[in-house]
Amino acid sequence: MAFLQDPTLIVEWLRQLLLGWGLSPALTSLALYVLGALALATGPLLWVIFLIWFERKAVARIQDRLGPNRVGKYGLLQPFADVLKLLTKEDIIPAKADKFLYWMAPILSLAGVLLLWPAVPLGKGIGGNVNVAVLYLVAVGTLSTFAILVAGWSANNKYALLGAFRTVAQMISYEVPIVLALLVPVLLARSMNLQAIVAAQDVWFVVAAPLPALIFFVASIAEVGRTPFDLLEAESEIIAGFHIEYSGMKFAMFFAGEFLHAFTVGVLGAVLFFGGWRGPGAEAYPILGLFYLWLKAFLLYFVIVWVRGTFPRVRIDHLLDFTWKFLTPLALVVLMATAVLDKALVRAGAWPRALGLLVVNAVIWLLAQRWLRKVEKRLEPPMVAQPGQYPVARYTPPEPQAAEGD
């Protein structure tokens, strides 16, 4: 069981096996890369099938429903039935669509999410070790944006294009706070390598940078396009949004991409702010590190599902105001404060530094709250009907009836 302590032994064993079959060293390396890539890509793809079940079940419970419960125990086989159904659906291609781009969009959408994975460190010495990983994530994220733009445009449907435009405006707007928030862990770890960022988290960065963590998390939900930021599929306005003309497996790829992206946000949040694979015993047994990472990512993912089941959809002007007029300035201020304080406390130990940054974050948050309240008062007049105005319905609970016979 030596491979539990050093998973690279598996790779070595495979290499020897392939060499033993008479493959040349170069070909062996290539075969190993392909095998690794296949494993890393199919793992998340299969995991999505479970995620779909989990999310349907969780949202159903939040909404006081049962959720899938017919196929298999607890409806566990439901997603498999869905996959079979989607596979045998007719693949409708609109006559007026731009055929090539119409085919490319769903592929790009899912591939864009899968491509985030090679940068993720899965344990000590396993998984991504990319020197510019954080920017790599941002760069790969642009593929998803393009997929949506291409999907919306190629279908030649007004709703699809409207949905795509909205979505792209939303995605690029929320990318600004994300990129700003990502700068903070990079600054704290002095590296863009996610493996180094994990290694630097003797104290989880969420302690030193709670606001960037929150900004990253919220903006990422918007980037994925989930409730409450799911304007891309505001059914009452633009029907299904950019994927309105997609059916069968092509639609399923968008769907799978969205679910996997949501979970990937959980993984990235865990890596950047919650210590990644770190945990008791993870140094000695990297497999344990994988488990810790998965656990943290799953908890974050659960919060995303929870948010989805709880909040109503926001309006588009509110949506854009929220990122440009709140998250972005907030992220800029936090970034400056972190930069200054980090330089000032450079000689302090890990904990004092983290706690100092925590205090600064708290102060900024309180100031932001005060400012928000002020703006709130100016923007929204209280919703009370005034004489001469259009009446605003307001529910007033009936007065409790006085008991009779008094």
Partner: protein
């Protein structure tokens, strides 16, 4: 060997994409061709082990500039239909100039390459990005261009917003 193969593949894809960008009369297709070309440039940077440059290329050119281009195409005219001719009457002269330039560059490269012993590629230091960052804000390095770039970008934003946007009121006036 592998590097050469990937380079050649990328080069062919980039050339085809560039031709699409220039020759297609469907503007969105042309824009997509441009995107592939820009992405290919990033692949070339990776081959040269300039990783930061590669991701920066994708983030800035593919992620921002290409989207801006696609947006502006969709904003300015009906893009579904083919629009106008792809060439103007002077195209033979342009072809001639381009051809001559190609010959010239090829000759120059051929004349130069055999005599030169290319220095062995130096190993890229591990902290290359950190060095870049330090050089950007080093008073003896590039601090002036760095700060000027920020002023330039600010000016670009002000100019662009000024030209494109008259404010909500003015915009409502023009749409009445």
């Amino acid at each position: 060997m592998v590097t050469t193969f990937v380079f050649l593949l990328t080069a062919v894809v980039m050339l085809v994409a560039a031709l699409i960008a220039v020759l297609k009369d469907n503007l969105v297709h042309a824009a997509m061709g441009l995107v592939v070309t820009l992405f290919g440039t990033a692949v070339l940077f990776v081959l040269m082990e300039a990783y930061f440059l590669a991701v920066a290329q994708v983030v800035i050119y593919v992620g921002a500039i290409a989207i801006l281009i696609v947006f502006s195409i969709m904003l300015t005219r009906r893009v579904g239909a083919a629009w106008g001719a792809q060439t103007n009457p002077t195209w033979p002269f342009a072809l001639l100039v381009a051809g001559l330039l190609t010959v010239l560059v090829t000759r120059m490269v051929r004349a130069w390459a055999p005599d030169q012993v290319l220095p062995a590629a130096a190993a890229v230091p591990a902290d290359i990005t950190a060095r870049l960052g330090a050089a950007l804000v080093d008073p003896n390095g590039y601090v002036v261009p760095f700060e000027v770039a920020s002023v330039l970008l600010l000016a670009a934003l002000i100019g662009a917003v000024y030209v494109a946007w008259g404010g909500r009121k003015a915009e409502k006036e023009t749409h009445k």
